[in-house]
């Protein structure tokens, strides 16, 4: 039995696969997470996020592939040998220990000389110093979450894994904790791998987001980049809203391809389309679409539709517009004018967008 493995550096997953029987939960994943970054693993429930985390923690061994931190290969080592700690989805606090002993558990096992001080500091960091002598069952969900975080952070792991840590909290508390987690990560400077199915949470917190679907990573990048230029249909729909339509690529026009979406020709920059012939899924984000009563001049990318619904949101107004193709588009207009467009359901409108904002992904 090998002892504790000192390891430092970037986290790397190399062609990691995990199968349960004949079901592949994680399918040949490659990941590189730079040291000290806030990395989000985003995907719908059941896509393999927890399984991926468990393989990094050592609670599950990959069927194939390697897990490394820096140059140290951790594949096959036990959880207690890895410089990795987990904040479990259900917190998994020790019910028989009080809060202080819960947090001190890790340092005690590693016989840290300054266990008491580190425990105090960790409780301080998550603002739970006043609860040190309580039992976990005497805390609220949000407080337990903080304790679970302190219990992991106190060990200064090389990589901290958070499995939907905010999933059980109500919306307001979740927003607060998002800010709080981000603050803590900046303060301690550790690598955070944050698993979530909430795209807003992933985008607001993470430096890098990996979008996962059915055991593989669909796309990885900075939140803004993912939002701006999704490369798969799944990412386009999972990350924010997208107005989409399936088209056939008919032509090119300089830097653009021209696709025919149910009779309407639309342009997509070649550099922003993943496909250049055949079928394409055309997409444009709601806030990139302009709504007007009359056909704008010369824009080219415009479609006439019928307003279905108007929601006034204060800073903006959101419209749902029925398109001739039968789909419904969503448009988001900032209320910059004193007198906004006074549109009602049933009104005919023109939708336009800058061709440079459209994207194309495999249909």
């Amino acid at each position: 039995m090998a002892g504790f493995r000192e390891a430092s550096g970037d986290l790397q997953l190399e062609s990691v696969t995990k199968t349960f029987g004949d079901f592949t939960a994680v399918d040949d994943i490659d990941l590189h997470v730079p040291r000290g970054s806030f990395f989000a693993l985003l995907g719908p429930s059941g896509c393999g996020k927890t399984t991926t985390l468990r393989m990094i923690a050592g609670l599950e061994q990959p069927t194939a592939g390697r897990v490394l931190i820096g140059d140290t290969d951790l594949t096959g080592s036990r959880p207690y040998e890895r410089p990795v700690n987990t904040v479990f989805q259900s917190y998994a606090l020790f019910p028989h220990l009080n809060i202080r002993d819960n947090v001190a558990f890790g340092p005690k096992r590693r016989k840290a000389a300054d266990t008491a001080k580190r425990t105090d500091d960790a409780l301080e960091l998550v603002q739970m110093s006043g609860f040190a002598t309580r039992k976990p069952s005497q805390l609220s969900g949000g407080q337990q979450q903080r304790v679970a975080l302190a219990r992991a952070l106190v060990n200064h792991p090389e990589v901290l894994l958070l499995d939907e840590p905010l999933g059980a909290l109500d919306l307001k508390l979740r927003r607060e904790m998002q800010v709080e987690l981000k603050r803590i990560q900046t303060e301690v400077g550790l690598t955070f791998i944050h698993v979530t199915h909430d795209q807003e949470e992933a985008m607001t917190m993470a430096d890098t987001v990996a979008v996962m679907n059915r055991g593989h990573i669909e796309q990885l990048g900075a939140p803004a980049a993912l939002y701006d230029l999704p490369r798969t249909r799944f990412v386009a729909n999972f990350l924010g809203q997208a107005n989409t339509g399936v088209g056939i690529i008919k032509d090119t026009d300089g830097d653009h391809i021209v696709a025919d979406v149910l009779g309407t020709p639309v342009k997509i920059l070649k550099s922003r389309s993943q496909v250049h012939d055949g079928e394409v899924l055309f997409g444009v984000r709601p806030e990139k679409v302009t709504v007007s009563r009359t056909q704008p001049e010369g824009a080219g990318n415009d479609v006439k539709g019928v307003v279905r619904d108007v929601s006034f949101l204060g800073v903006a107004t959101s419209y749902l517009v029925d398109m001739p193709s039968g789909t419904t588009w969503s448009c988001y207009e900032q209320n910059l004018d004193v007198e906004p467009l006074d549109l009602r359901p049933g009104d005919e409108v023109w939708l336009t967008w800058n061709a440079g904002h459209a994207f194309g992904v495999p249909a």
Binding site: P79, T86, F105
Partner: protein, 303 residues
């Protein structure tokens, strides 16, 4: 009792107004408690009072089997002095049986909770199966298994591993019988508490640098303590008062207190008051021990 009467009468106090919700609910609670309270009153409290009164009675000199109402503490004096060795034996044997049952039951319960997989239900049935035959019959069976002609004693004698030459009619046989008979009462609560433990919590031990054994010692075992506590109580209490195992498996001399009580009640004319005093003393001693034990090892979330 006043609360009961009050609550029962209250809804009718003002027939015009509908009874407020809270009153109605507490009334329901008392109704639901009633069968249990009646049962306890008739089958526990009443006999207990009767027994207490008997334990203080005196014999009519010259008329064995007849008593008169009295406050005769000699019965207790006799229980505490004449029968002190029997008490000591009872607690020693019951304690050893509890310890042995724990040693056997914990790994079994652990295996059932964490390792059995699809065999779990079968194992559960095996643990409960002995209850389908009578306690006495099973103990009789053990008296044959452990008999001098039986294969256990035969094998041990053949290997010269049995210093006394026999197992039956020794304290060892009694302790073995007690261990065997009360084992399910140890297994089931421990299994229940292990089974209820969140596997993620046990994994958290590993995640926080505790190896397998340390995780067991610092997480799994403490989390199953309510079950261990319940199991040891459910084993020790009946074992300390048991007389069947001693009767069927034990030696002629050096009986347990349960046998004395049994004899005083059934065999010795005029033994009722002493038997009752012995029963009360046993009950008090067990209560004190259980109290100290729970104080020492108990947790606030008992069982």
């Amino acid at each position: 009792m006043t609360a009961l009467a009050h609550a029962a009468v209250d809804p009718g106090a003002d027939p015009a107004a509908p009874a407020p919700r809270a009153t109605k609910r507490s009334w329901t609670a008392y109704v639901l408690l009633l069968p249990g309270a009646l049962w306890l009153g008739v089958f526990f409290l009443l006999p207990l009072v009767q027994l207490a009164s008997v334990s203080l009675q005196s014999r009519y000199p010259g008329f064995p089997g007849y008593y008169y109402r009295d406050v005769n503490l000699d019965n207790y004096a006799s229980a505490l002095t004449d029968y002190a060795p029997h008490f000591a034996r009872s607690f020693l044997y019951a304690g050893l049986a509890t310890l042995l049952a724990f040693v056997v039951a914990y790994p079994l319960a652990y295996a059932m909770a964490f390792k059995a997989g699809r065999w779990r239900n079968l194992m559960m049935i095996c643990v409960i199966a002995p209850f389908f035959t009578s306690f006495i019959l099973r103990t009789f069976a053990w008296s044959q298994i452990l008999a001098d002609e039986g294969w256990v004693a035969g094998t041990l004698n053949f290997l010269h591993l049995l210093p006394g030459g026999n197992i039956i009619n020794t304290p060892v046989a009694v302790i073995a019988g007690l261990t065997y008979n009360f084992l399910p009462f140890m297994v089931l609560p421990i299994y229940a508490s292990l089974e209820r433990a969140d596997p993620r919590v046990i994994e958290a031990g590993g995640d926080l640098y505790a190896n397998g054994f340390t995780t067991f010692r610092t997480v799994t075992l403490p989390m199953s303590m309510p079950g261990v506590l319940a199991g040891t109580l459910l084993t020790f209490i009946p074992a300390a008062g048991d007389f069947v195992n001693m009767e069927l498996l034990g030696p002629q001399r050096g009986k347990m207190v349960g046998n004395v009580i049994n004899d005083q009640f059934l065999a010795i004319p005029g033994g009722y008051p002493v038997a009752a005093a012995l029963s009360f003393t046993l009950m008090a001693a067990i209560l004190v021990m259980v109290f100290l034990y729970v104080r020492r090892f108990g947790t606030e979330e008992l069982v």
